[in-house]
Structure formats: structure tokens, C-alpha cells
Amino acid sequence: MSTKWAVIDTDIHPRPDPAHVGRFLAEPWRTRYLSGNRGPGYLGYWNPIGVRRSDAVLPDGSHIADSAESLARHFLDVYDIEYGLLNVDDLAIGLSPEGDYAAAVVSAINDVIVHEWLPVDPRLRASLIVSPVDPLLAAREIRRLGHHPGVVQILMPSGARMPYGQRFYHPIYEAAAEYNLPVAIHPGSEGVGIAYPPTPAGYPSTYFEFHTGLVASYIGHLISLVTEGVFVKFPTLKWVIVEGGVSWLPPLLWRFDKNFKALRQTTPWLTRPPSEYVREHVLLTTQPMEEPDNPEHLRQILAMFDAGHMLMFSSDFPHWDGDTPDFAARSLPPALRPRVMSETARELYSLPSSSAADRALDHETSHG
């Protein structure tokens, strides 16, 4: 499948083998983890389709996302993806009330990704997952592996015990900024462990209700990050909202800017309208692309914010609500396609263009 633009996928979900995670854990955590006690669990909402795509299974019964080799061959190759960002989806552990255990588990998962997945294919990059339940331990994890060339981002659950702008979390942002790594949040763990309920209205009754309302926590975090001055305190920090869709953003920013005119004296560190901080610091990923009956309406929404610099393609492979690159590209106005499908992500994560990467490789081989 060849297209006029490169494709960089900013949200792919690998499933590292728990037995391998166990190998990277020290006692007393290893016995506990291998016994199957792996954190606070989930609320148990039922998705009748299954969260992982049932057709993404190989003839031997393994799932395509269970190894870097099959992911590269059966996903990156098939869709001609130049780079794929691995986002482990086991984020609920970061909402465990047991901060030491959570920190040990995320470190072991990161070790599996860094040692067993990244070396397999030069197209793979990874987010370092951290447990925000203890920000000092999260910062320590960033300083442990943040220098790795394949690590391009910090990832946290979007379910949280308090809004992410609050000072409690700032050690994470300080470490991320030190390594020039964007911080991303990903949904799915709302209401789990010590997190607030999945919506401010309370606990939904079905997965359908839960999934539709996920955007509520994004709105809460985004407003908090700006009003608490995170982007003033950490002027180089970038924030990535993964898998939240896009249609909610423009009207929120209108409301935000309107309130700023009246209420700015409560946040005197903000010297510009909130939408400007958002434009400079915040990026979104495309999936799940909203699908209004009239596709023109989505294009109008995309014209209401700086989508050319704030929006990055994501497939969410192999989850049930994923988008293929061609579907996502078709939903976008042609002028936005090169930026959204790859160029914005290339800049954010400093990914060399493939031709440059090939040249570097040739150079290495000829001198090696």
C-alpha cells in the first residue's frame, strides 16, 4: 500500500509476556506478580466485541501484538508504517494504592519493552510507562531509562486520583522535561484502583456508557494542566492526549478563553488566553476518529483548532475501536494529511526521515 505521505502510528499496544515481566522483577514482587496478582484490576465492564481484535490472531493461535516480530511483519509491513510507537496498555497498575509494587511492575514492563521489543525492528519506538501514584518513583523511572534512544515519550493512565495539573505530580514533569520527553495519557483505567469514578457524574452502567464518557477525564486534566501553570513552570513540556478523539476540543477552548477574561486573577501566572498554551503544548491523537453523518462537519471541527500542528495519526492497534491509516487519512482534508499522518509526530518525537535513517545505516555498515 503506497501513499503520498508517510505514516507514523502514535498508538500501538504491545502485550509483553507476563512471564518475561516476571524475569525483570526482584523479590518480593516476582512471586506476587507471577501468582497473577498484578494490580488493582478493572471494573469489569463487558465489551461484547472484546477489547483486542479477534481477527488479529495468527494460525498458531498467538495474537499479532504478542511479539515485536509479528507486530512488525503483520502490522507495520502491511500498512507501510514508517515508525510505530509502542504504548503498553497495562496502565491500571499505576492506580494501585501500593505505590512500591506499582513502580516495580512498570519498571519490569519497561525493561521487557526496551530489551526485547525495541531491538527487534528499527521502526519501533516506545513510551516509558510510569505509575503516577507515587510521582517521585515515577521521576526515578524516567531518569533510569529516559536516555534510551528508543524511548520517545512518558505514558500515564488518564484515570487519576486528582487532576494532573496539581503540584503533587510536578516531579514527573520536571524529569520528563529534563529528558525532553513529552508526557502522554491514555484512557481505559478510569474508575480503577484509587482513581476517581469514570465520569464526574459517577459510575456508568455499561462499557458503552463508560467508553462514550471517557473524554470527561481528558477535559478535567487539560483544564487543570493549564490553570495550574504546568506549561508556565515547564515551558518546554509537551502533553499528548491519546485516544480521546478531537471533536470536543474547540468548544472547550472557547469556553476556557471566555472565562479567562473574567477570572484570570485567580491564576495570575497565565499571561495569555488558555487556548494559546494548549496550542503550544498539547497534541492529540486521531483515533477514535469521530464519524458524523455529514463528513464535512468533522472537517469543520478540524478547521477550528491548529490540527496541522496538534493532531497525530494513531491506529490503537489491536484494539476493537482502532482506525486503519487509510480510513483516518480519508477522513482528513487532503492538505492536512501529510502533517497528521506523520510530520507532526516526526517533529515531536525527533524521528529521522527513513531516507536519512537508511543513509545513517549505510554509513554504519560501511564503517563497521
Binding site: P48, I49, R53, S54, D55, W320, D321, D323, T324
Partner: protein
């Protein structure tokens, strides 16, 4: 069933044979790899009534449910599977594929 470049799913819906193109009208998934099952029928709030067992094909990607007997998506009849004419003679199922496909 694979025919040249066409992939077609053939289903036996309680004795009625149905043949559909293995491409979902939504994002073009291999829809025939999804489960064939029943579904919850329209009911009052708080009531659940399972029915149409074996008549519903659910896409393995985003879960759109299709009525195998009509090819139409349950939530939006404008979205439908591409169906082929099927005849059964003795023990053989014949599928008619229009020219040019």
C-alpha cells in the same frame, strides 16, 4: 472461500445459504472472520431479550452487527454487506458473481 482476488464468506443460516463479500462497509475489515451469533432484541429499559441466534454477523473490528438474511447493518440499513446470489442443487452450493468483479 477465496476466488482470484475475491474473498467470500458462505454461511448456513438454519438451512438458508448466504454468501457475502468478506469486506465490511465501515473500514473494510474482513467481516466474515467475526462471530455469528444472536443479539439482544429491542426491548424496554432494563429488559434483555436474546434472539435471532445464528442470524447476526458481528464485524471483528468495531463490532457492527449485520443481519445475514438481509445483509443490512442493524443500526443503519443504509450500510450493508455485499451479497451474492446463491443456489443449492443437490449437494452443491453455487454462487453467482457478476462479471467484472
Amino acid at each position: 472461500m477465496e476466488l482470484d482476488r475475491l474473498s467470500i464468506g458462505v454461511f448456513n443460516v438454519r438451512g438458508t445459504f448466504v454468501a457475502v463479500l468478506n469486506v465490511c462497509p465501515h473500514e473494510l475489515a474482513p467481516v466474515c472472520l467475526g462471530p455469528v451469533r444472536g443479539t439482544t432484541l429491542a426491548s424496554l429499559p432494563g429488559e434483555y431479550c436474546w434472539g435471532r441466534e445464528g442470524e447476526i454477523l458481528a464485524c471483528p473490528w468495531h463490532g457492527w452487527e449485520f443481519d445475514l438474511l438481509t445483509g443490512k447493518a442493524l443500526v443503519d440499513p443504509r450500510k450493508h454487506l455485499r451479497r451474492y446470489q446463491v443456489r443449492v442443487r443437490e449437494d452443491t452450493v453455487y454462487i453467482t458473481i457478476p462479471q467484472g468483479q
